[in-house]
Symmetry: C2
Subunit: 414 residues, 2 copies
Amino acid sequence: MAKKKLIVQKYGGSSVGNVDKLKNVADRVAACAKEGNNVVVVVSAMGDTTDELIELAEQINAYPSEREMDMLVSTGEQISSSLLAMALHRKDYDAISLTGLQVGILTDKYHTKAKILRIETKRIKKELNKNKIVIVAGYQGITDEMEITTLGRGGSDLSAVALAVALKADVCEIYTDVDGIYTADPRIITDARKIECIAFDEMLELAANGAQVIQTRAVEVAKKYNLPLHVRSSFEKKEGTIIMNKNANIEDPLVSGVALTEDEAKVTLCNVSDTPGIAAKVFNELANENINIDMIVQNVSRLKTTDISFTVLKSSLRNAVKKSMELAKKIGSGEVIVDEDIAKISVVGVGMKSHSGVAARCFSLLAKNKINIEMISTSEISISCVLKKSEGKKALKVLHAGFELESKKGSNKK
Amino acid sequence: MAKKKLIVQKYGGSSVGNVDKLKNVADRVAACAKEGNNVVVVVSAMGDTTDELIELAEQINAYPSEREMDMLVSTGEQISSSLLAMALHRKDYDAISLTGLQVGILTDKYHTKAKILRIETKRIKKELNKNKIVIVAGYQGITDEMEITTLGRGGSDLSAVALAVALKADVCEIYTDVDGIYTADPRIITDARKIECIAFDEMLELAANGAQVIQTRAVEVAKKYNLPLHVRSSFEKKEGTIIMNKNANIEDPLVSGVALTEDEAKVTLCNVSDTPGIAAKVFNELANENINIDMIVQNVSRLKTTDISFTVLKSSLRNAVKKSMELAKKIGSGEVIVDEDIAKISVVGVGMKSHSGVAARCFSLLAKNKINIEMISTSEISISCVLKKSEGKKALKVLHAGFELESKKGSNKK
C-alpha cells in the first residue's frame, strides 16, 4: 500500500468568513481526507474578526499592550478552528482543533510580530495516527514561558508553511479568495493572466510590491526549505499557482508579472556628505526605529555631497520624516523633502537574470507613453520605478501590454 | 507595615457587558489596588458572548462535541480578561491577564462540566510579587494533557472561590448585577429585603431553589474551606450579602428567605414494588444518564407497592421520562405520570434547625390561602412544596408576608 500523503491546507479569513463558507471549507477538507491523505488544516480568524477585536481594544485603550493584544486576537483563530472541527464532525469525519500552544509552535518573545523558533510535532503526529484531521489555529504561537504570541499580519500563511516544513508535508496548499497569482492585479488589468508556476524569488518581488495574496515571510521560509506552495481558490476546484524553486528555462517568459504599489511615500535627504558610512548610519537609525524601508536610491555625488532617497509605507512616514530630520541635523546635511504623491511600478521575472535589455525595454515603454520616471532601483530579477501617483495605473497597463503578459505567445520570450 | 491583604474579586458577564461597564470594573479594581491590596480578578465573558458562541456552534453542528465547545467558549473569558488588563493599563495600573492554562487551573477531563483538581499558585504569586493586578479568565481550566475544559454554567464563581482558597485570600467578592441576596426574588416580591448575612447552608438551599445569584458549587467549595463570600453589586458602592459559616443565633429569624422555581417538572413512577433497593436502582440509573434529580418523594406503601415521585429540570425531562419508562418496564411497575404544570416553593432558614413549627406554619399559611400542596420534602433547614404552577407566585407572596420577611421585627424570631 502506498504511504499516505500528508497535506497541509491553509484557509484565510475570507474563506471562513461565515457559517456557510466554513461548511464549504469542511467539504474541501473532507474531500482531501477521503482521498486517503493525512490532512493538517491551518485556519485564520473568520472574516473581519481580528479587525473587530482590534477595534474593541482601541475603544478601551488607544495604545494597548502588545502582550494583551496577542491574548485578545489569538482567540479569533481558536474560534474558527473549533468551529471547523465541529463542521467536520457533522460530516462524520474525526477532527480535532489545536491552539498554537497545544501544538507547540514555539516563538520568540516579540508580541504581535513573533518569529517561529521551533515546532513540536508530537501532538499533531499523535492525532494523525488516530486518523484525525488536525486543525491548527493559525497566526499564533507560544513562548517558552507560556505567553501567547502572534506572528503578524498574514501570519497564518507562515503557520502553514512552518508546519508543512516541520511535518515534512508533501504539499502545502494556501486557499484564498483569488484563484492564483496573476501577471498583474486583475482588478486593474482585466486581461491579466493567471500564472501556472512562479519562482520563489519572483513571488517575493511581487509580494513585496503589492500582490498581497500570500505573506512574504511565508514565501521566504518555503524558499529556504524548498517547499512548493500551491496558492488556489477555496471556492473553485481548478488549480491555482504553484510557487516553487524554478530554474530559469529557455522557454520562460522574460517577465512574469508587473505590480503597482500606491501606499508608499518618498523621502529625500538632500546634500548628504559623501563620506563612507553615512548611508549605513542613516538606515541603521531608521531600522532601529522599526521603520521598514523599501527602495533606496543614492546617486553619484556632485561636489562631495549626494542626495539619498528612499520609500516607506505611508503608515511609517511620519515617524520616518521625524527621524530623518533629526538625522539631517546630526550629520549636517540639507533639507528633507517628502513626496506622498507617488506610485511604484515593478517588473518581475527570473528570465531577466540571464537576459539583458528588459530594463531598457521597460524604460522606453514608459517614455513612449510620456510617463516620467522619478526613481529607479533594480535587482537581479526585478526593476522598480517610482512615478507620479496619477500615472501608476497607466504605467501598469502599458507594461503589462508591452511585455505581452496577457498572451502566451509573442516577444516576452527569450 | 501591615501585610498587604489579598482580595479575589469576580465580575460576572453583566458586569463586563460592554466597553463602558468594563471601564467601570477597571475603576473598582483600581480602587481596591490603590487601597494597598493585592488584587486577583476573575472575569466572565462579556454579556451574551457565551450564548452567542454556543448559537454559532449549533448553526454548524446541532450536537457539537463537548471538547470543541470548550475550545470555543473559553475564548469569551480570554477576550474579557485581556480587555480588562488594557483598561487598567489605561489608568496606569500594572495588570496582566492569564488564561486558565497559564495560571494552571488543573481539572478533570469532563468537558463542559469539569471539576477543579488543583490550582497552581506559582505564576499568580510571581505576578503579584511584581505588584501586578492579576486578571484570570474565569470558567476555564486545563487537563494534565493540555486540553481546555470549562466548569459549567456559572463556573467563574467557582474559579474565583477556588483561587481564593488556593491563594489563601483574605476576602472573596462576587460582583454581580444585583446588590445581594434577598429574602425572595425582588422582581416578584417588591418588598423583599436584602439579607446582610446568610449561612452557607441557607445559601445552598436558596441557590438550589431558584436564587441564581451565585453558582451552587462555588458555595459548596467556600463552605468546605470556610471562605466567607461577599456578594455585591458592581454598579453600587454599598455592601451586599456576606455568605459565611454562621451558627444559629437566638436573635436569628426562623426563616431567611423563600424561593420559587418554575422550571421543573414532576415525574411519578406508579405502583413500584416496595422491596429494598428499588429506589436506589431507579435513581442510580437516572444519575448514570446525568439527569439531575431535585426533590424525591416516596410515600408509605399500600398493598406492597408504592409511588415514587421526583422533580427534574424541564431541560432534562424528555431524557428522564424515556429512562423512567424503560425502568418501569424492567422493574415491572405501573405507568409513568408526567406533570409539567408545577411550581416549587421553598422556605429556608438555619433557625428551623433548633425550632419546630415552621413546617406547620408554612402549610397553614398555604391552606388559609386555598393553595393546594402536591408534594412535600424537607431538610434540616428547608421546606419545599410542589404546587400548581399558577399558584407559585401567590404562594411566594403569602409565605414572604406570612413569615414577615419584609420587616426586621415581628414574629419571624425564635
